[in-house]
Amino acid sequence: MASLGALLEGIASLAVILDARETFIAIPSGLALVQYTFRLDPIACYFNLALAVVTLAISIYSFGYLDGFAPQKPLGVFCFFYALLLISLTVVFTAANALLFLIAWEMMAVAAYFLVSFDHEKTENRRAGLLFLVMSHVGTGALILAFLLLGTWAGGFDFATFHLARHSLTPLRQGTLFLLFFFGFGVKAGMVPVHIWLPAAHPAAPSNVSALMSAIVIKTGIYGIIRVSFDFLETPPLWAGLLVLFAGIASAILGVLYALIEPDLKRMLAYSTIENAGIILMALGATLVFQSYGRPMLAGVALIACLFHIFNHAVFKALLFLSAGAVVHATGTRNMERMGGLIRPMPLTALCFLIGAIAISGLPPLNGFVSEWLAYQALLGGFGSTPSLTRMVFPVAGSLLALTGALAAACFVRAFGIGFLALPRSSQATQAHEVHVSMLAGMGFLAALCAGLGLGANLLLPIFDPLTVALLGVQMSGNLTMAGGIALSSGSPRGGTVAPAALAGLLVLLSLLAGVLLATWWRRGRRVQGPTWDCGLPGLTEYNEYTATAFSKPLRMIFAVLYQPRREILAEFEVSAYYPTSVRFETEVDPAFETHLYSPLKDWIIARANWLRTMQTGSIHAYLAYIFVTLILLLLFGVRS
């Protein structure tokens, strides 16, 4: 146990050291060339800062969380891979050489694989780990190809070389590279349709790992896309920006729609990660489009929306995964339908989850609202300043962002309402207890950060200056604050303003006003406890409660085209069909991407592999013949050239 404690402390201090180092060099200093091929430029530092903040919270949380695994599981192994993942993430963000980057990228995938399948006794988890590894390598394959092409064309594998050589690339080559990079990084970012590993891998991993993966590992993909489009290539053409924008819209809408019908709490959060990756990609796509139209100020607003949402999502998604982990820890189930009433035994966990839910739904005054507000402003500005049909894209994207936000709110009302409120729905939920204090500390830190990032958003804007200067060459913070820094503005002189801190203060003030109103008028009244109306049946039980499945039923019917729901009702009766003795109800949603895209693809690959198997006779003579033929061919090739 002592060694366990020491190991964990090591991790925590590692996090703190990481933290200290980054905040020390980090954002204001700008480009500081550390020896060898690590580069701590503003973008790298920004992502590392997010990593450090989230890691700090997760590591504190892990003290209590890992105790639950202690006797049966090899925690040393866990800690090793956890530390490896952290190191490789840091290297991925700071590497300034393609080869180093790819090595770190692979290390990250492998470490994450071992962490995902940590609970390897369950077949489901092993399969999830494998799926993650396969998808990750499909992406890496595209990246290796892209880096090799770029390295050949640019004449070197340093990022600096790429940057210098970017003007000499033909548009065709630029386009090819962009597509390859976008696909490769998109897999990691959880972009639709290459997202399928995400809802499998996130729930399978221990919750602290899910939090780290959802908060940071996903962002390595976004980091890659940003790095490629601003650093390696010239200003990408219009179609590239639109492609990113559309991929973002698709991911956001589909992600949240799948999240809405998911009864598994952690899997729901995984789908919501896809949604948020979509929002980030939307803002990034808008940035690229504005760049290609030569609108640096608008691009600046969109870029800040994108970067701010990256950080915000890291914070609130980590918070939500950690709270979900606490709930799973206390109840032993991930199924929302078997939770319920947890706000009484676990009040603090519930509060943390609620704060995360409000933030992720983009509701004021927390941080999610601020980044979505900036995204709206950028999209709105896009309509007025882009020519022809392109301009229609922005308001439509804006309205779909509104749809996403509203659906996310519905999704998190469902998660919190069904999971934490009303009566417990199972015996495990009844026996739940509040979790260890270190877990609460980790969650509390992130919850406070959600509030701080929202309320203090206008004070944090200068942090983005080095980033926008490095990527776009514009300084934004001066334009984005108004009225002595109280309000956040949309960048144009009369565009629009918002002041989250003032809104929060006024909400409190007005609630107090309502309290005073109540106190003065409410003289005679008494406040009594009473039973909830149960339609005259004998007492309210958990069977009367609305379920998560029922909650999302209207949306399941409205979006039936997408879900293709299938249901089966089996009623047994003796006298009349109106008095069934037992009813069995089954409902299922068609996993569209798995059945229509991946299954045919998998079958095709297996068929081709079988076809190739004819070569593998198993006879040593045949293999010798292959080697001989290859040698001859290579010699011929060598002689000719």
Partner: protein, 313 residues
């Protein structure tokens, strides 16, 4: 600072006074149109006072969410009310948030209301929450498109700026983009305030209610706060509609004379809109829940057309 406080105070009083009145007017007009006598226009005030003095029953199963929700619903609605121009073009708190903040603050109130519906453990509450979140989700894109159209005309999402722009330009309601945006926002108004054909405020029939189902377990002062919040929200949405599309009589300063004049015109405009709402409510039957998305899809199309026509015409 003091100026802002005074303005906020005036508008707050106005909000608290006018919101129940409008609700009463709609109820009375509706009754008359259906050849009933109905309550007089001041009935909502009496209801409020009555509820305020009653005791209340808190369900055993409910947590603190249930008790916090009435305050949040009231506070968000009132705050939003202070951010929109009512009688003068510059709203007291428009610096703190424009039309996007209005939409999202109302969403915050709804978020908690839906949680409170689930908190009681009754199946009615869950049913109401589920439907409310569904309908608001599919109303959102239409609302955002219509708002975008209007904001583009004024080149701002700041409500005071938008009102200023509307007043300074010649009245352009007859332009296709404006009319289409008005139609889209009107459908959204019907859906958001729980009126026929989307929902029916007057019903407590188990299977059809939406908003009423969520607040079924509330009683006494908490119910009063929620009702007042709902009335203010309705007033806010109606104000948004009349002042954006019919910007007459908006006073440009906060003098007593200007405000008085503005108030008269404002009440007149609200009355007109109320009549229109009553007409719609009386001549339509409530829709099946699953027909509502079609209605809102129409609103979305109207919003999209409004946007397209801003650069076609």
């Amino acid at each position: 600072m003091t100026e802002m406080l005074v303005k906020s105070g005036v508008q707050l009083v106005l909000l608290l006074l006018v919101a129940p009145l409008i609700s009463g007017i709609v109820k009375t007009l509706k009754a008359r149109l259906q050849t009933r006598r109905g309550p007089d226009v001041f009935q909502p005030y009496r209801d409020l006072f009555k509820l305020m003095r009653k005791g209340m029953v808190i369900p055993d199963t409910a947590s603190w969410i249930f008790s916090v929700t009435p305050y949040i619903v009231f506070a968000t609605a009132t705050l939003v009310g202070l951010m929109i121009p009512m009688t003068a073009t510059d709203a007291p708190l428009s610096l703190f948030g424009g039309v996007l903040a209005v939409v999202y603050l109302l969403a915050l109130g709804r978020f908690f209301l839906a949680l409170a519906g689930l908190d009681t453990g009754s199946s009615f509450g869950g049913l109401g929450s589920s439907r409310e979140m569904t309908i608001s989700a599919i109303a959102e894109p239409a609302m955002m498109l219509a708002i975008f159209t209007v904001a583009l005309g004024a080149n701002s999402t700041n409500l005071s700026e938008m009102a200023q722009a509307a007043v300074s330009q010649s009245w352009k309601f007859l332009e296709p983009s404006q009319m289409l945006a008005f139609a889209a926002l009107f459908v959204v108004l019907i859906a958001e305030t729980g009126r026929i054909p989307v929902d029916n405020q007057a019903t407590h029939l188990e299977l059809t209610m939406i908003h009423e189902a969520m607040i079924l377990e509330y009683s006494g002062p908490y119910l009063a706060l929620i009702e007042l919040g709902a009335w203010i929200k309705q007033l806010v949405l109606m104000t948004l509609l009349v002042n954006t599309f019919f910007p007459f009589g908006l006073s440009s300063d906060w003098t007593v004379a200007g405000l008085g004049m503005g108030l008269v015109v404002y009440l007149g405009k609200l009355l007109g809109l109320a009549c229109f709402i009553v007409m719609v409510e009386t001549t339509n039957a409530k829709m099946r829940l699953f027909r509502v998305p079609e209605l809102l899809a129409v609103a979305f199309i109207l919003g999209a057309l409004a946007l397209i026509s801003t650069f076609l015409f």
